[in-house]
Amino acid sequence: MKPCILQVRRILSLWLLVAWLPAGMAMALAIGQPLEFGSTAQQRQYDTLVRELRCTVCQSETIHESNAELAADMRRRVYDMTRAGHDAEAIVEFLVQRYGDYVRYRPPLQANTALLWASPFLLLLGGGLIWWRIVAGRRRMVQCPVFNARERDMLDRFCHGDDTGRPR
């Protein structure tokens, strides 16, 4: 009998959830749930923010994409704070204070992220150096070719009209 009651309860709670979703505020925000904003600026701020904040449970997703409950809570916080008139910076700061810099998908430039920000340029520099060395090496070879005996022999034959390349 008990499982049956449980099932009824589950269906009931599911129904309650669906019925209450439009009320919005009381529940965590589902993905793609239509939201009302005071202005388009607020809407834009919310849309940008949820794509810039990392879900700390599913670390490869933004809170915009994540199905985790924590992400839903965070979406609701961002929504509530946006409606309350907080600007984007304040909201990000609020979450950073609680979850650390890790929540930002766009890390700030500071001492412990300097290497992260510099790495593309360092890689480019390293690649450039290698490329330059290879090119310079080739140029040196063209200007001052070094041949071994066999190559000299082949060159000699080419110069004298024998283009088969076969040894005599």
């Binding site: 009381a26 529940m27 965590a28 700390t56 449970v57 670390q59 409950e69 924590l70 809570d73 965070m74 916080r77 950073v96 204070q97 609680r98 979850y99 650390g100 890790y102």
Partner: protein, 192 residues
């Protein structure tokens, strides 16, 4: 030629070294910015009594643990015997009942041990965000002033307790005792 091979070898071993270090890191071990900060304020109903409102002040006063748990979290269930041991050993444990149902939580506690002094009921995870909760279970150590001194994401283990938590609690208790002695001495001096 030899130099080039050496460079390649060095670069390859550096990469392998990075990989090896990366293997040892747990990506869930994130530093909490809350360590060293005062316990974030909250106002929540008590789990046992919806009429009674709890705030962070109910968690503060002595060196305590604050545990975040839920009945749907099996790791929390597995962790509880350890909390029971701590509670029996005289370490006060407060708790957030996180994103849970009151009935389920009360039933669970009524049929098993209850290591908690006070339990704040947080069905929507409101305090959870303020306390920077990632996933249950989580455990904080608060000093007597209510400053978060330690945070563990995930279950406590006996090894962790022995290595980190219990020594910290001991140290914090000693600090509190010293501070109290200083205060009473200062009072005595002021009176004389």
């Amino acid at each position: 030629m030899k130099l080039r091979m050496l460079i390649t070898l060095a670069a390859a071993s550096a990469l392998l070294g990075l990989l090896f270090v990366g293997l040892g890191l747990n990506s869930r071990d994130l530093p909490s910015p809350l360590v060293g900060k005062p316990a974030p304020p909250f106002t929540l109903e008590s789990l046992e009594d919806a009429e009674r409102l709890l705030t962070e002040q109910d968690f503060i006063g002595e060196v305590t643990l604050v545990n975040v748990w839920a009945t749907w979290c099996s790791t929390c269930r597995a962790e509880k015997p350890l909390l029971m041991e701590l509670a029996r050993g005289g370490i006060p444990i407060h708790a957030f009942n996180y994103r849970d149902e009151r009935d389920a939580a009360l039933r669970y506690l009524s049929v098993s041990d209850n290591p908690y002094r006070t339990i704040a009921y947080d069905p929507k995870g409101d305090a959870g965000i303020d306390w920077g909760v990632y996933a249950t279970p989580e455990t904080y150590v608060l000093d007597a002033e209510g400053v978060i001194r330690y945070k563990r994401i995930g279950p406590l283990t006996r090894q962790l307790l022995l290595d980190e938590v219990l020594p910290l609690i001991e140290q914090l208790r000693a600090e509190t005792l010293r501070a109290e002695q200083h205060a009473s001495e200062a009072r005595r001096l002021a009176q004389s």
